[in-house]
Amino acid sequence: MLKSALTTLCKLHGRHALCQQLRDTSVVQRVQSIHATSCLQVLDKDSPGKKSAKKLREEESEIAAPPDVDLPLQDFKMESMFPSLETHSMLINGVRYDELPIIHIKATHNNTIITVTNGKGDPIAMESAGTVGFRNARKGTNIAAQAAAISLAEKAIKNGVELARICVRGIGPGRLPAIKGLQMSGITAVSITDNTRLPFNGSRPKKQRRL
């Protein structure tokens, strides 16, 4: 109904004038049905939703951008406990934060698997509660996790890994003991990240346990 009224008005007064008027008075905010000029103009470019979307895209590109050559590399300093976009290009003992080796800890209910990778993600060494001699139910204990972490740290230090970012995945009993074991045997943690998987309603999980 509104559209038909507008079209009749348009015929009377001429499209362009009306459109301009509408825009000026901003009675109708979306005058998309009337094409007075080219429709390259974004009418609601000031809407908060669009603004945030635009901002997000910029942030993303910043993250995805290759290491900046122009930016002077700063030494690592911590203003807060949480990393920012600048943290990734900071230097820690001469190495960029995003090129530090990563220690992945996968703590499941029945086992704890720990892997060292370099900054790109290529594996250097791996150790698990099973490979350090624990079997069956004892694999899924905190002691086994700690033992695995200690024996892995030895291998890692032999390969020249001393500073590392730690990624934890899963909510098994080896979650904290593994980190502690790494620290005890001389690896300096720069950050701790939680990488636990959470499906957005993915495939149907197993049925409930009945005891």
Binding site: I63, M78, S80, M81, F82, P83, S84, L85, T87, H88, Y97, D98, R165, I171, L176, I179, K180, Q183, T188, A189, V190, S191, I192, T193, D194, N195, T196, R197, L198, P199, R204, P205, K206, K207, Q208, R209
Partner: protein, 87 residues
């Protein structure tokens, strides 16, 4: 969340002076207060629709009870006089 989405930005804490304990506690507290860990645990096993309904209703009741109770306690504890025991 895909694997590389905001990697080492989201759910990350920096460790100060190789003190793991406080950093881990901060991370854990955040995950727990956002009910992330509870969510992960819940997604381990299938929750049947009747269980979902029950849980939702229980959570709703709990939320209402807690908010009302804090309101009442605040009302009872409210005072409008200078503190007679400043020390």
């Amino acid at each position: 969340m895909s694997r590389n989405h905001l990697r080492f930005l989201a759910k990350t804490v920096l460790v100060r002076n190789n003190d793991i304990e406080p950093a881990y506690r901060v991370l854990d507290r955040i995950l727990r207060s956002e009910k992330f860990l509870a969510d992960v645990k819940r997604h381990e096993r299938y929750e049947k629709p009747f269980q979902q309904r029950q849980r939702a209703s229980y959570e709703r009741c709990r939320r209402i009870y807690n908010s009302e109770m804090t309101r009442k306690i605040e009302f009872v504890m409210r005072k409008n006089r200078t503190n007679p025991f400043p020390r």
